[in-house]
């Protein structure tokens, strides 16, 4: 059984371990993100066999989601987006001299959350993929739109900017010759554009170079050092918080499984949940509450398993990193979706096995090597930034040995830099690029099967429960951004609070 492949082959085991180790540090060092690391890594591992390449990337993903919490606790700088909520209570704990306890609890809870996520993935993905066989092309199209809109609306707040970014991504993905009719699209008569724009160049530019340019604003900021006490948490602490961690892991896996939403949103929602359900916290939330640390950390790691569900079963990424993982599978000739689960179940079980192993490595590396860790995260940005830029250039060049890709990467890097400054989310751009082909193909299939009749197309949506649910979800996202919705919500919540106060 392929689930055991990673456990029995020393080379793969080593790569998962190496990836997890690197991931913990990548996630922890401010300025390096998991998305950036995985996108750069694709370009270096594309000539490898698929198993070693995936092993390394899964290790980095799992380690990186956890690693972000370290600097959130020690320096109040979340190393990864999924650790933003961790800083809210982790840093106050560290300031009180409880950094070791915070790190230990975070590690164990991330481990528990990680396992719950992987468990749900193993059980749910085969069921979802069976169900996914019943999906019509229009359902795929609606799912893709839903994913892009969700990542746009939830991650940034401004749906308009999210829509713009998502549509831009789809347009970038459409550049080149149309695969069905060979018609040129957005090529402006440049031969270089006929083959399209390398999505790796877009990804590395947006997540690597733009982040490095942004970090130039903070070159002179000094790192704050914290003392670290005992790391391994007591059994009673773990037992006491187990019920909450199970609840927040469930939130994490559900949010992770929604197309377009990942660990960052899961962590914030779990934090919110913990705040509501914890009646008497030992310390107030925001002032070093243990619950405020446990909730986001279990949720973001369980979201990893969750994010793999839509990726493996539908070919629709759960978040930006799984979007890049889909890209990696494409490069290795695999096409994620229900047919991959049926034709090559071994690949699915291999990924589950690699995730389990990465989770085990995570707890090992998490509870050891703290001295080395504090040294590495204090690496000055004046060295780190030029290195990120250099790696980005090497990564963009390596895939096609093309200088043009380097220029694209630099162009998107500068563009991404301005987008970040002006509050445009980058996640939807990447999701748009990855899903462009799927959306285009499925729209055309759907409308051709309805004999080019828009009326019949909508009739199809309203007569299929699944299509209807997806369609309503898309509409709800739009409606939720209108002033009418906000007013209605305020009225409803206002009445509720009035009745409770009575």
């Amino acid at each position: 059984m392929n689930f055991l492949t990673v456990f029995t082959q020393p080379q793969l085991l080593m790569l998962v371990g190496l990836g997890t180790f690197a991931g913990v540090y990548v996630g922890a060092i401010p300025g390096l993100s998991v998305t950036m690391a995985v996108s750069i890594l694709i370009s270096f591992t594309f000539s490898w066999d698929v198993y070693p390449a995936i092993s390394l990337m899964i290790g980095i993903y799992m380690g990186g989601v956890y690693g972000g919490s370290r600097t959130a606790i020690l320096l109040n700088i979340p190393g990864a987006p999924s650790a933003i909520a961790t800083a809210l209570d982790g840093y106050p704990m560290a300031k009180r001299g409880e950094a070791g306890t915070a790190i230990g609890v975070t590690t164990v809870m991330s481990f528990i959350g990680g396992f719950i996520g992987i468990g749900v993935l193993a059980v749910a993905a085969p069921v979802v993929s069976d169900f996914a066989l019943k999906f019509q092309p229009r359902d795929y199209m609606l799912l893709a739109i839903l994913g892009i809109l969700l990542v746009g609306s939830l991650s940034q707040g401004s749906l308009l900017k999210g829509i713009f970014a998502g549509a831009l991504g789809i347009a970038i993905g459409a550049v080149g010759r149309d695969p069905l009719t060979f018609t040129e699209r957005f090529t402006f008569d440049f031969r270089l554009l006929e083959g399209g724009i390398s999505f790796i160049a877009v990804m590395i530019g947006m997540f690597g170079v733009s982040e490095a340019l942004l970090q130039l604003h903070h070159v002179d900021k000094d790192a704050v050092r914290q003392k670290i006490n005992r790391i391994v948490p007591s059994l009673s602490t773990v037992k006491k918080h187990l019920p909450l961690s199970l609840q927040t892991s469930t939130i994490g896996v559900i949010i992770g499984a929604l197309p377009g939403t990942g660990g960052d949103i899961a962590a914030l929602m779990a934090y919110d949940h913990a705040k509501r359900v914890t009646k008497d916290p030992e310390r107030e939330f925001g002032d070093g509450a243990m619950e405020g640390l446990i909730a986001p950390e279990t949720a973001n790691n369980s979201a990893v398993g969750g994010a793999f569900i839509p990726m493996m079963t539908l070919g629709i990424p759960g978040d930006a990193v799984t979007a890049i993982m889909i890209g990696a599978l494409f490069i290795h000739g695999l096409n994620p979706g229900p047919m991959l689960m049926i034709d090559q179940p071994d690949m699915f079980w291999f990924i589950v096995g690699a995730l389990v192993m990465a989770n085990i490595f995570m707890v090992i590396f998490g509870l050891t090597g703290i001295k080395l860790f504090t040294k590495i995260v204090e690496m000055p940005r004046s060295v780190l930034i030029p290195l990120i830029m250099l790696l980005s250039i090497v990564g963009a060049y390596a895939v096609n040995n093309s200088i043009t890709d380097v220029y694209w990467m630099l162009g998107f890097g500068v563009f991404g830099y301005f987008m970040r400054h002006y509050g445009y989310p980058l996640g939807p751009v990447i999701l748009g690029v990855i899903l462009s082909r799927l959306l285009d193909d499925n729209w055309r299939r759907a409308i051709i099967s309805e004999r080019e009749d828009l009326g019949r197309f909508f009739e199809g949506i309203f007569t299929s429960p699944l299509s209807l649910v997806l369609f309503i979800a898309v509409i709800l996202i739009f409606v939720s951004q209108t002033p009418l919705w906000t007013r209605g919500k305020r009225m409803l919540l206002g009445r509720k609070s009035e009745s409770t106060s009575k």
Partner: protein, 188 residues
Amino acid sequence: MQHIDPEHHDGTSDATPGGTENMRRPGELIFGVVMLVTSLGLLWSAYGISGFEALSAPGSVPMATTLAMVISAALIVAKTARLPLDTSETLSRDILPGVVLIFAAALVGYGILLKPFGFLPTSALFLIGAIKLLARRGWGWTLTVALSSLIVIWLIFRIVFTVLMPAGIVPEAEFIQFFRDLTNGGDA
């Protein structure tokens, strides 16, 4: 739910728009207008693909997406124009400081020199210049850090990942072959 911008995860990042959501950052309106004009150009180009030929034509999805870009960009511009300008920020200090411009230029320079000069000399030049500029420390420290990191990167990517970067003026292949011959000779 508490709103924290995950894209700008660095707690110290000044990329959180304007410090507040209700202010316009310097240059934000110009960026919005550029996006709107670009979107209009792309919509025109998308229309040129197949016009309104058929719903399943190759231009239909590009037209729909660029139309979405035009509408959202127009609404963003309208919304941004109504916001008061954040006077505590300036374009040259908070959005596009000199160091960012220098680095953007250095990256373009790197791209231009990579093919003719090769990976090793161009990267060495880039790293030494960049680290010297940012760290403002002595030449000894700068050269040691820059060159040792370059050697590590080169070894990892050339040997482990077998990435072939342009050799340029450095006889990289001969160099590697020389070491291979040395080790083979040693074995024999």
